[in-house]
Amino acid sequence: MFTESMMESIKKVEATRAARMATEPRRMTAEEKSELLKQYHPDYRAEGFAEIKIGPNKGEKAPVELTNLLHSNSRLLNEKINLDNPAYDVDVLVIGGGGAGASAAIEAHEAGANVMIVTKLRIGDANTMMAEGGIQAADKPNDSPVQHYLDAFGGGHFAARPELLRRLVMEAPDAIRWLNKLGVMFDKDEEGTMVTTHGGGTSRKRMHACKDYSGAEIMRTVRDEVLNRQIPVVEFTSAVELIKDDKGQVAGAVLLNMETGDYLVAKAKTVVIATGGAGRLHYQGFPTSNHYGATADGLILGYRAGAPLLYQDTIQYHPTGVAYPSQLFGALVTEKVRSIGAMLVNKDGEAYAHPLETRDVSASAIIRECANGKGVETPLGSGVWLDTPMIEILHGEGTIEKRIPAMLRMYLNYGIDMRKVPILVYPTLHYQNGGLEIGGEGFTKAIPNLLVAGEAVGGIHGRNRLMGNSLLDIIVFGRNAGKAAAAKAKEVTLGKMNLDHVQAYAKELENAGLNEQGVSPLLLPKYARHEK
């Protein structure tokens, strides 16, 4: 199914394969990496960013599309919402039905709290479901949480918040244990030893996986547990605004039934924002590997209520998104493909970089190759080769079907057999490194009973995240948020509920001359032809 010019280039990839396999490509020096990032990483393109004009992060930069949403008003501005008769009254309200939200709900329930989940699509419609490659934890004898800390801190450009990173690495082995106890089927050998591999930037093989359905296996298990516990899950219902009280606490959220357009009120003693990422905002025109609802809603809700953002100007572009065929454009090709041996190769058959540099470096190197005419042209742009036949040469026939079946299936649908031919990749918008700022216990620093977990948090990973640390963070910080929210709920007494912050925000926008924008949060991307 490749074009003629692609087939020509494949011949060059095949011609250099044996020689390439005999030598490991050199890793870049710290200086080389830093220079490459400055020249080619999208975070350094000034035109992709704008200044935030109001709120706690006033004067800082954020992606243009996110800034536009921050500069927009609430859809409730001219609505009359009756806060006196809430449809729901709970201890803990979890907003978001992905891995972080489900983990939080399970732990809050375990702690005896009255907890509910609201989610704008279905429970499990989340980036968690789509994570393929694996989950990190330092649980092998040659590894330690300290080594994990070093890898993640360095890979994140020494910007992670130490108290958050500490929790991430120290609670990682217990996260694996917890998931395994719930019934997650990790890849193991006959003795029970977890099969672990490298990810970009890891110094020990600590990537645990469930084939290349790692996130799906985790999500469907925690979802099943939520349902078994009969925790209320209100689907197709989004939170469109937090409610506060006269003491400055959060007191719940205004919900929107996505199908009927009705507004409902949920009252809660503590609120966990677990709304995930922002890929569907398509920063700088990139395609995305994210699910349909990844529109940064929680960031908008939290910010409007007064919670600051951290590292909102740093975005992860996964190096290997599908570049061809166009029907799969932007879909994720798991990093595990490189973990188990495939090299990145340019149009001329050259392995221009080590396949397991960190994601920001690896993505920048692909962009560089394509900018310098070393990429393969595609109908939607260009890309480089990921030399997948190497995997079967290295590990034997059948390895691809056994270890990355989802990838094989995805390409076979379009007549491309990755066991026989390499595949074309280009960076895709993958992860929001930044988000709402929290302290080590999971609470926002501005609002005492508002918590954040998962991709909506900023600061756990610094300015770049390693593969496998996101599935880990949703479990570690999701569980922690659930426990902390349940405990906190016992001591919270709510005052008079109000939406005054919505009016105050509108006033601020007006004073800054920004009163003509649309409404936010976005909730769903505008893909219908007449809406584009």
Partner: protein
């Protein structure tokens, strides 16, 4: 000039570019999706869809996000399907045949028509994994059903009214929890951490100045 094909969403004709998927073709036609759209990359099973090509009697099932449009496609997406999930306390179960008999007895009504396998959007051998479940071969059922995305197309077609994805899910949880060998190295590390064996080391690395951290990071040895 773009190559266009005729497709019929819920019986109504639209002309759409031939290289689109069913999902992007619906959006091209003007639909704003909320039901029937999830991850958009073949992992979540939200976009279960049935279609028939004009002039052909065969009824097909697919994921809308993973399937390219064809001329004459009559398309209906399935917004929701009431699969029947039983609730249980996983800690109280044991991995035996009894579990399936108690929680999903309808699997023994399977008439062997193979409609489930034919309907599977992931090309799984669904009838086979149900057969494994009937026999209490839970590990085999788990392996065979592993790539299931719970789209429910199998259950839509099943004359015995089995909720196949739920059976596979139960088999996988029982396998992961009880049948797969224990990972002693995970238990050991959790114990070490709980005993505080890393507390001092982690405190030390958290306190180090950035220049020292850079040196440590850039010179760390990497496992081959």
């Amino acid at each position: 000039m773009e190559n266009l094909v005729n497709v019929y969403f819920f019986g109504k004709r639209y002309q759409v570019p031939a290289d689109l998927t069913i999902m992007t073709a619906m959006e091209y036609a003007g639909y704003t999706l909320s039901r029937g759209c999830g991850c958009r990359h073949g992992f979540c099973g939200a976009c279960a869809t049935i279609y028939r090509i004009k002039g052909c009697n065969e009824l097909k099932t697919c994921l809308a996000c993973q399937t390219q449009v064809q001329e004459g496609m009559y398309i209906a997406s399935i917004p929701f399907f009431p699969t029947d999930k039983r609730t249980y306390e996983i800690e109280d179960l044991r991995p035996n045949q009894q579990v399936m008999m108690e929680l999903y007895p309808e699997i023994y009504s399977c008439i062997g028509c193979n409609a489930c396998t034919k309907a599977c959007t992931q090309s799984l051998n669904v009838m086979q994994y149900i057969a494994y479940a009937q026999r209490g071969e839970l590990e085999k059922c788990a392996e065979e059903s592993f790539d299931c995305v719970s789209c429910g197309c199998c259950s839509v077609r099943c004359p015995a009214e089995i909720s196949h994805p739920m059976v596979g899910l139960l088999a996988r949880r029982l396998t992961g929890k009880y049948i797969a060998p224990k990972s002693q190295h995970v238990e050991d590390r959790v114990d070490e951490i709980n005993r505080g064996e890393y507390d001092q080391l982690i405190e030390q690395i958290m306190q180090k100045p950035i220049t020292e951290m850079k040196e440590l990071y850039n010179t760390r040895d990497i496992e081959k």
